[in-house]
């Protein structure tokens, strides 16, 4: 029995189990923040996200799960590529974002982004593949962002870059079952 193992709080455990990242290893050098293309838009910088996740207490979690930063991560992997401790802040962002989503904590500025992801996945769940026109329609309705990019649609159509009829794969039932199981499944 090793009495000297450090106690791991729930966020650290979730991050380690889902993303394979040991938060204690982060020494807050800030190289992730320095290279992040989206950091200038974020309310919390990537190193602050790592720090608050390290702290893991209720107040830290409140700031974390309600932050816009989680939603602005582009998954570009610059942070993971350059981290001198070989950690993956983007993967940590994924875990925290999923937690925030399941707890219904979506900051106002992130609603469009969430709406886009959901619209995307809804079309995949329906036909097995992403379908542009249903995606855009759904996205526009849920985000209430009706007018931006309005001219792009006709332009895409004219260039034959917009499939009119979405493809439904034969195995769409399989795909739907996958979605259902995941919805019910493990939470990070």
């Amino acid at each position: 029995m090793n009495m000297s193992e450090p106690k791991e709080h729930p966020v650290a455990k979730a991050v380690r189990e889902t993303a394979g990242v040991v938060l204690a290893e982060c020494y807050q050098c800030g190289k992730c923040t320095a290279g992040c293309p989206m950091a200038r838009y974020m309310d919390l910088s990537p190193n602050q996200v790592m720090r608050l996740a390290q702290a893991g207490d209720a107040a830290a979690l409140e700031r974390l799960l309600g932050s816009e930063a989680l939603w602005y991560c582009a998954g570009c992997l610059t942070c993971a590529q350059r981290c001198p401790r070989q950690l993956d802040p983007a993967a940590v962002m994924d875990v925290l974002r999923e937690m925030a989503h399941r707890q219904g904590k979506i900051p106002a500025a992130a609603r469009k982004i969430l709406a886009f992801h959901k619209a995307f996945l809804a079309t995949v769940e329906w036909g097995g593949r992403m379908a542009e026109i249903p995606l855009v329609m759904r996205y526009k309705m849920n985000s209430l962002d009706l007018f931006s990019d309005a001219l792009l649609g006709p332009a895409m159509l004219a260039k034959r870059k917009l499939p009119l009829l979405p493809h439904r794969i034969r195995g769409r039932g399989e795909v739907r079952r996958i979605f259902e199981k995941c919805r019910k499944g493990t939470r990070p």
Binding site: G30, T33, A34, C36, A39, N47, P84
Partner: protein, 658 residues
């Protein structure tokens, strides 16, 4: 009749928690030959030792077994106690009940039984111990110091001051090391060469010091007190006896554009050159790889202009053997190559330089006369960004460790820049500021508060170079929680400190260990920082671990003290655990001579009274024998035995166990 005393130590909780010491003592009391058996909390303490001494006298013990920690810890302690009580120290044995028992087992019953077995084995051995006398070998009171930087120079001066002779071997053409390249030193901002060159001159002129520059250690034989070191004196092509250092030769050499290593490639030298004007010895060498005469047989200008005829193109490397009694390794460090960081330009940007290059820019005697200029276009930079921890504290692309000196020299660089360019901007990206030395914290605060260096906490992710030469530095301010971009004219990287190239090979020659990063291993990190596992070989300076000048000098003086301690007696006492040949039964098959890894066995002629050779047998050199027992193992006639570990004793130990 054997009268063995057994003393079982609890070692506090270390042994006592797992092994039932009273039970072991009780079991030992019943072993054959044992007349006294006790247990005690701390045998190595004063009362513990008194117990042993008292029992030796009162019970007239003929041998002692102490069941305690590893003999490596306290064999010497207990043997000294036995000697004080009048018992030959080699009649005392230790049973390792800690490292070999209580520390590696948790089952108390099994551990206790094992402890009893271990004690029984050592009792069986102790009964067959014979009194041995230490061997005395002469000590050659000359020291070898390898490396002519500040640590090597200091060690040489201290040993010389102690009245002993020193040979100082330096790989480069001049002594001085990296300290000669620095502009000013922290925290005093002393001019580095001003404080160093007097020492260099002293080392060169001290009657007890022999300087061998442009030389390297080629091979090593022998052992503490009696090393034979072969030094390769590399061909200088200039006779130092004739050369006056006038400089006519290098002023005339037509090859002017060889990047000078001393100047980190920022300045040029000739093919015949002195690395810097204050070099000691101030005699040039010819760089054979570049010299037209030595490569192609053309030119020869330097020989023509030399007024003393000191140039000798036919010079060759020479091997010189020296006898020394102790060695100090002071080979120092170099900087890690930041080409490994593709995100900082992969070493391709001329204006992204390392700390030594900045020192040469800042140095009054450097290639720019002390003016800070961009290497690419010679323009004075108006914004200089300094990156700490470049390659240090990096598990992925660099070294895991902290290089210790960079926080301080970066603060110094920022200050020097601000002193020279009053309207310039110095930005330092740091992770932590490590300023633990005397006056160091105050120095860093001065850089920030008095000299206007801007400190931003965060590592830099990327450096890119625009066509106009501007360097775009993308860092972070972790405390404010935002990315920070600076447009810089010059970037200085605090590259990690690594051991000098070739240091591993040198360590192998001397039998000194080194860690995964190539730093030399000290005998004990806390209590024996300048000794190594190789007796008679000591360490000084950054070859052991990154350190600054005061620490290097301290370590150098410490190793000099160790050397002088070694030289204090004309003879060295060696443990008498050596092999011995029975001349009567030796058949002279010479198997032991081939097998000995130390070359300690040799032929010996047995003579009659007239001096005629009766026969030849094998003989062991007491001075060289390390007591490994290989010869005893290969001897077919069982003529070789090891004092302190005889065949009979080993047999008895095994019988006691089985």
């Amino acid at each position: 009749m054997a009268r063995i005393g057994v003393f079982i130590c609890h070692c506090g909780e270390n042994i006592g928690r797992t092994v039932d010491c009273p039970a072991v003592a009780a079991a030992a009391a019943r072993m054959p030959g044992v007349v006294h058996s006790v247990d005690y909390k701390y045998m190595c303490s004063d009362p513990g030792q008194q117990m042993i001494k008292k029992a030796i006298v009162e019970k007239k013990l003929t041998g002692v077994v102490v069941g305690a920690c590893s003999p490596r810890m306290h064999e010497r302690t207990f043997r000294a106690a036995a000697a004080e009580a009048g018992l030959n120290p080699f009649l005392l044995e230790m049973a390792n009940l800690r490292e070999h028992c209580s520390w590696v087992h948790s089952d108390q019953a099994a551990a206790t039984q094992k402890a009893i077995d271990l004690v029984r084995v050592m009792v069986a051995k102790a009964r067959r111990d014979r009194a041995l006398r230490p061997i005395r070998v002469p000590v050659e009171p000359t020291a070898l110091v390898v490396g002519g930087g500040i640590a090597g120079i200091q060690a040489a001066l201290d040993i010389a001051a102690g009245g002993k002779k020193v040979v100082l071997v330096e790989r480069g053409p001049s002594i001085g090391g990296h300290m000669a390249r620095l502009s000013e030193t922290f925290p005093t901002l002393d001019c580095s060469q001003c404080i160093l060159t007097p020492r260099m001159v002293e080392a060169a002129s001290h009657p007890n010091i022999t300087l061998m520059t442009y030389s390297e250690v080629e091979s090593v034989e022998g052992f503490v007190g009696n090393f034979t070191v072969t030094v390769r004196r590399k061909a200088r092509y200039v006779d130092p006896a004739k050369c006056t250092g006038c400089g006519d030769c290098f002023n005339k050499c037509p090859l002017k554009k060889i990047p000078n290593e001393f100047d980190a490639g920022l300045g040029m030298r000739r093919a015949i050159y002195v690395p810097f004007p204050q070099a000691v010895p101030n005699k040039p060498v010819i760089d054979a790889a570049h010299c037209t005469m030595l490569q192609k047989g053309k030119c020869g200008l330097c020989a023509k202009v030399c007024p003393r005829g000191a140039i000798d193109y036919k010079d060759q490397d020479r091997l010189e053997k020296i006898k020394v009694g102790a060695v100090v390794l002071a080979t120092g460090f170099q900087l890690w190559d930041h080409a490994a960081y593709g995100e900082y330009g992969g070493g391709r940007y001329q204006d992204v330089i390392d700390g030594f290059a900045f020192e040469r820019l800042a140095s009054a005697s450097g290639p720019t006369g002390g003016r800070i200029k961009r290497p690419s276009d010679g323009v004075e930079p108006k914004t200089v960004v300094f990156l700490s921890c470049c390659g240090s504290r990096d598990d992925k692309a660099g070294k895991k460790y902290c290089s210790k000196i960079c926080c301080m020299y970066t603060a110094k660089h920022a200050m020097l820049y601000r002193h020279k360019v009053h309207d310039g901007r110095a930005v330092v990206f740091y992770m932590d500021v490590r300023a633990a030395g005397k006056g160091y914290e105050e120095f860093v605060r001065r850089a920030i508060e008095a000299d206007g260096a801007e400190y931003v906490r965060g590592r830099v992710s990327r450096i890119t170079r625009r066509k106009d030469g501007t360097l775009v530095v993308r860092g972070a301010d972790t405390l404010a929680g935002r990315p920070v971009t600076i447009e810089a004219d010059l970037v200085v990287l605090a590259d990690a400190v690594v051991p000098r190239s070739g240091s591993e090979k040198l360590a192998q020659l001397f039998g000194v260990g080194y860690d995964q990063d190539g730093f030399y291993s000290e005998a004990h990190p806390k209590l024996r920082p300048v000794e190594t596992a190789a007796a008679g070989v000591f360490l000084a300076g950054a070859c052991q671990a990154p350190k600054d000048i005061p620490e290097s000098v301290s370590q150098a003086s410490a190793s000099a003290a160790k050397v002088l301690g070694l030289f204090a007696k004309p003879e060295l006492e060696r443990e008498p655990i050596i092999a011995r040949v029975n001349r009567t039964t030796c058949a002279h098959c010479r198997a032991c001579i081939s097998a000995c890894p130390y070359g300690a066995t040799r032929d010996f002629d047995v003579l009659d009274r007239a001096g005629k050779v009766l026969r030849t047998v094998a003989e062991v050199n007491e001075g060289l024998c390390q007591g490994c027992g290989t010869c005893a193992a290969v001897c077919r006639s069982h003529s070789v035995d090891l004092d302190g570990f005889t065949g009979e004793q080993i047999h008895a130990e095994l019988s006691a166990l089985l």
